[in-house]
């Protein structure tokens, strides 16, 4: 009884009979990204077929088999389609498994979704957080048990992330699912997640982590071979955290990182590694390709076509991983190769070759066609002698005879490709016109983030292979009105600089030339680094991230303080209020009192400088006035000598760098500060002694202040004498 009571106290939200609460899950039926455009303009991502079954079908099947009893499906984009699909699906009629849809039209991120779910107050305990494009066959029991036990011991252990080993490719640095490199630091004994960094692929070997990580933890393992499965077991606190931090949007980029950085609340995230089970999320076209093939290879058993097949169209597994549904009209001379799935009611003409591909329901494939590594969805008509290599072809597409799809092509719904037309590699074709500019609201900041890193990374790449690609995009512009004779649809032009991403994330295997190029680039970079390690080539991306952040933070902080100060001056805000505001800024940027003092002093000098003045004297008077007016503010950040020295150093810096005008007045102002008791004698003395060993250049102001310093040194003696007398 005793431990139970403790737990009940520690976890205030959970009732004592935690065990009897049905396991709930939140399924986000929206990925909040645009990776699958143009297809997702017409159909939500979760309903896209993955080996002839909508992705959400896999997710729900797993949740059901893992013992989840209540699923809340959060629909956002194309909510109606998702809801009507679920309404007609088998999941609605199952006992002990309820699927409830939650519709929203203004959510633009996972964060918004979770906030809405929190408002609805439907989640009552631990829940599984998953997105509708994730599939797995892992057993939740172990992970759940671990999570609950940890929670019992430590109420701050609010989340368990499921991870899996997966080595990134040594050349492209991306995982087999096409996601960018991921770097994690995990405590090997407790499995606590200590550090999480995405998009590490371009940092080529350097990555800086906070040294406090090493100080605080006795042992720590660093991984770049771990894949995030995007399956999280969360406690109720996660939802309330999202509500408290209204700026959390992305689950990983904001929430996980936010929790890891934030040491005030002390929330902890743990990992659960799965070994033999399978878990993966369809993040991009390459992931789509890889996961499809994993399904065909039965890694996801029992989520495989012959077991999952819906309705009466029983799919049978034949030799060498061939899955064939019933009622297939196949010509005798057609060759269907290994690892191929053919849907119901599809007819295949003579001498057609299909290998490593998935063909949906009701397709008509003519004779002498070649389909290799492609994904052909339902009701597609492929006429004679067409060639498809590593392409995705959506529902209702018509390919006229002898048309060709080059690797990486995506044809969205109902596109018609004209006769003899060759669709160039990596192009995306849709009936809908490309949105003229990327809607920044939808893209969200993390999308921008992404392109930033990519841009900086592609710098070198583009130089190398820029020319042929430029030709391509020109060609695309040229033909974008027409897809050959009788063609219908628009070829979306690729944004400049995104070619890099195209081959990285397409279904096509990475061309050998490309691999060779990258290897070459890496080698060159390595040489550069070894030759001149102080100045790495075109170095933006090579700089450790956190340092940039620290510097950035300092600059931002100073600006913010200045803005606050100016507002205070203009609006006559009381000093106490200003102190409050600056304090809050200080907390949010994690700064020291000395930084505040420096920043405030800086702003004061700026203010004095901005006031009209023509002569040195006038400037000095301005400074005098400002200091008089705001000395209380400044003093409140000067609890000790160190801060005062900081102010002097800052002053020096100002005089040297930003405001040369002030430099002649250095001594006077220093004297002024001394008179006002802002800076004590000791601080000035320490500053002087600190500067003794410095370079000549650094000692300019010491020299300038020599007389003042001497006066200072003599003054106390006089005082003493006076006192003595």
């Amino acid at each position: 009884m005793a431990p139970k009571r403790i737990r009940a106290r520690a976890v205030s939200d959970d009732p004592e009979d935690l065990a009897r609460v049905p396991l709930q899950a939140v399924l986000l039926a929206d990925s909040f990204t645009t990776r699958f455009r143009p297809i997702t303009l017409e159909r939500p991502k979760v309903l896209l077929p993955l080996v002839n079954l909508p992705m959400i079908e896999y997710t729900l099947a797993w949740l059901e088999s893992a013992g989840v009893e209540e699923v809340f499906v959060f629909c956002c984009a194309h909510a109606k389609q998702v809801m009507s699909y679920l309404e007609n699906s088998q999941w609605k009629s199952l006992p002990k498994f309820s699927v409830t849809t939650i519709e929203s039209h203004n959510s633009i991120s996972a964060g918004d979704a979770l906030r809405l779910i929190y408002e609805r107050n439907v989640i009552h305990g631990d829940f599984v957080l998953i997105s509708g494009d994730t599939l797995s066959n892992m057993s939740l029991t172990r992970a759940l048990q671990e999570h609950k036990e940890r929670k019992k011991k430590d109420s701050n252990a609010i989340m368990t992330m499921v991870v899996q080993r997966s080595k990134p490719s040594p050349i492209t640095q991306q995982s087999r699912l096409g996601t960018d490199g991921l770097f994690m630091a995990i405590d090997p004994t407790t499995k606590q997640l200590l550090y999480y960094e995405e998009n590490t692929n371009h940092s080529k070997g350097t990555l800086s982590i906070d040294k406090m990580l090493l100080v605080d933890n006795t042992s720590i393992t660093l991984h770049n071979d771990i894949q995030d499965c995007y399956i999280d077991i969360c406690s109720l606190e996660v939802l309330s955290l999202f509500t408290d931090n209204f700026d959390y949007q992305h689950l990983r980029r904001h929430f996980v990182k936010g929790l890891l950085i934030d040491d005030i609340m002390g929330y902890k995230i743990f990992t659960h590694e799965i070994h033999s089970s399978y878990a993966a999320r369809v993040d991009n076209y390459r992931g789509y390709d890889t996961i499809s093939k994993d399904i065909i290879q039965r890694w996801t058993y029992p989520l495989v076509p012959d077991v999952l097949s819906l309705g009466n169209s029983a799919t049978k597994l034949e030799r060498q991983g061939m899955y064939r549904s019933s009622e297939i009209g196949q010509s005798r001379s057609a060759q269907i190769g290994p690892h191929t799935v053919i849907g119901t009611g599809t007819t295949i003409g003579s001498n057609t070759k299909i290998t490593n591909s998935v063909v949906g329901k009701g397709c008509t494939i003519g004779s002498n066609a070649v389909i290799e590594g492609s994904y052909v969805w339902d009701n597609v008509i492929i006429e004679d002698e067409c060639e498809l290599r590593h392409a995705i072809v959506c529902d209702g597409v018509v390919m006229k005879s002898r048309s060709v799809l080059k690797p990486g092509v995506v044809l969205s719904f109902k596109v018609v490709i004209g006769q003899n037309f060759v669709v160039p590699p990596y192009s995306k074709v849709s009936l809908l016109k490309q949105p003229t500019k990327q809607d920044s609201d939808e893209e969200l900041e993390y999308a921008d983030n992404n392109s930033d890193t990519l841009d900086s990374a592609t710098g070198t790449m583009d130089k190398l292979n820029g020319d042929p690609l430029l030709e391509f995009s020109e060609m695309e512009h040229h033909v974008s009105s027409e897809l050959g004779y009788g063609g219908v649809g628009y070829i979306w032009s690729l944004c400049e600089g995104s070619h890099e991403e195209e081959w990285r994330h397409s279904v096509a295997p990475i061309p050998a030339e490309k691999l060779a190029e990258i290897t070459q680039v890496i080698e060159d970079d390595l040489e550069l680094v070894s030759q001149d390690s102080n100045a790495p080539a075109s170095s933006g991306e090579l700089k450790p991230d956190t340092q940039i952040n620290a510097e950035d933070d300092a600059v931002y902080f100073e600006k913010e303080v200045e803005a606050t100060f100016l507002r205070a001056v203009n609006e006559n805000v009381e000093v106490d209020h200003v102190i409050l505001e600056v304090n809050s800024l200080r907390l949010s940027y994690n700064m020291q009192a000395a930084d505040c003092a420096g920043a405030i002093f800086h702003s004061m000098m700026k203010l004095a400088l901005d006031a009209p003045h023509s002569m040195q004297n006038e400037l000095l008077r301005n400074v005098h006035n400002t200091v008089n007016a705001w000395q209380k503010l400044l003093k409140s950040y000067l609890p000790g000598k160190d801060e005062e020295i900081e102010v002097i150093l800052k002053f020096e810096e100002i005089c040297l760098e930003s405001v040369k005008e002030l430099s002649p007045l250095f001594t006077q102002i220093l004297h002024l500060l001394y008179d006002k008791d802002i800076i004590t004698e000791e601080a000035i003395e320490d500053w002087e002694s600190e500067k003794k060993d410095a370079d000549e250049a650094d000692r300019v102001f010491v020299k300038q202040a020599e007389i003042f310093l001497q006066w200072l040194r003599e003054a106390p003696e006089e005082d003493d004498e006076e006192d003595g007398e």
Partner: protein, 442 residues
Amino acid sequence: MDQTSRVLQIDLYYDLGESGGRLLIMPDVQTLVNELLFKLKKRKIEGSHATARQTAILLRLVISQQRIPYTHQAAALIDAVKAVGEQLVAANPVELAVGNIVRRVLHIIREEDLSLSTVAMVGLNVSAVSDDEGDTDQDDHPVLSAAAVAAASRNTLRPPSLQTLLEDLPDSAAVPHTSSSGDDSEGKSKSADKSSRSRRLKHDVIEAVNELIEDISTSHEQIAEQAVEHIHQNEVILTLGSSRTVLEFLCAAKEKKRSFRVFVAEGAPRYQGHLLAKELVARGLQTTLIADSAVFAMISRVNMVIVGAHAVMANGGVIAPVGLNMVALAAQRHAVPFVVLAGSHKLCPLYPHNPEVLLNELRSPSELLDFGEFSDCMDFGSGMGSPLLHVVNPTFDYVPPKLVSLFITDTGGHNPSYVYRLIADYYSTDDLVLQRKPAPVN
């Protein structure tokens, strides 16, 4: 006593089915059917024993809640069972026990109907008194009498002369009934008798299905009872993987104070042999665990191989956990008896030349190797767009009948060549193909 209580329980079911309207009751059955379908589909029920039991229980419910018309009662029941059965078989075609049980229930319906109609024939021909007599008779030995009639009538696998002789009997019995149903004036007098007959048909069928469920539940014990006849003092027994039947069999011999040793091959890749070894040790048996690949090395010291099966085919071949064919070959090489234990629900009336039957379940390759460790070998991103490493994990082996020395079922030991005869006892040839459209009445 036990029997009467069961009868009461059945009556309860039966009354529910009669009194409740079809609309009220049918959805309930449908949800239960869907539930089992779902479980089968998602491979949530493991093992033919559990599958068989659940199938039988579900079919009993289907029968008890099926409203029966005044004519063609048997046909109505057969249709209902077939409709459900077809779905169940399609849900997991690899689990042959489902089909077996569906066919056996169909067989039961046919037999009961046949025995009733012969009794009715006799009653009509002789007098009304015989009806009561028949009734008591039925209650005492329902299955025996049914089996007796069936044996006399339905065995198409018998020599043709006998079959043709007896096949005429039900046909002639069926003809007057169908004609009488259309004729109102004649049928009026028989209607009371008919309704009681329909009640009785259902009653008898449910009774017989109950027996079937009972048989399935007790099949382990039935087989285990024969253990002492086969396992002798100081023998060495080899088995592979884990089977509950084998475990019970060995333990039964142990309980009878036989002392013997057991070699357990671990049964890669699921390693259920480990579990079996643990269980055996817990029951105090001297156990040795060996790798599957060591079977050939050890077989010369073995007196007998005893294994379980997934299904026994009509020709005496066995569908068994992967690795058993190798064990059977090793046993043949050293002339060690290869004994297969199989409950009667595992007897499948199909022949293994049928591709439907030889479907093997390919399970997840992750049982063989850790996906995370080998994920770089499964990379599709480069090269030909297809990985160089494929991992295949079949569940079953087919052991041909010539490698099997003996089958031990709940009815005793049988030669592989006798299996077809056993099957003829349990199944009627009309039901071999379940997908066929409703069979002609009787």
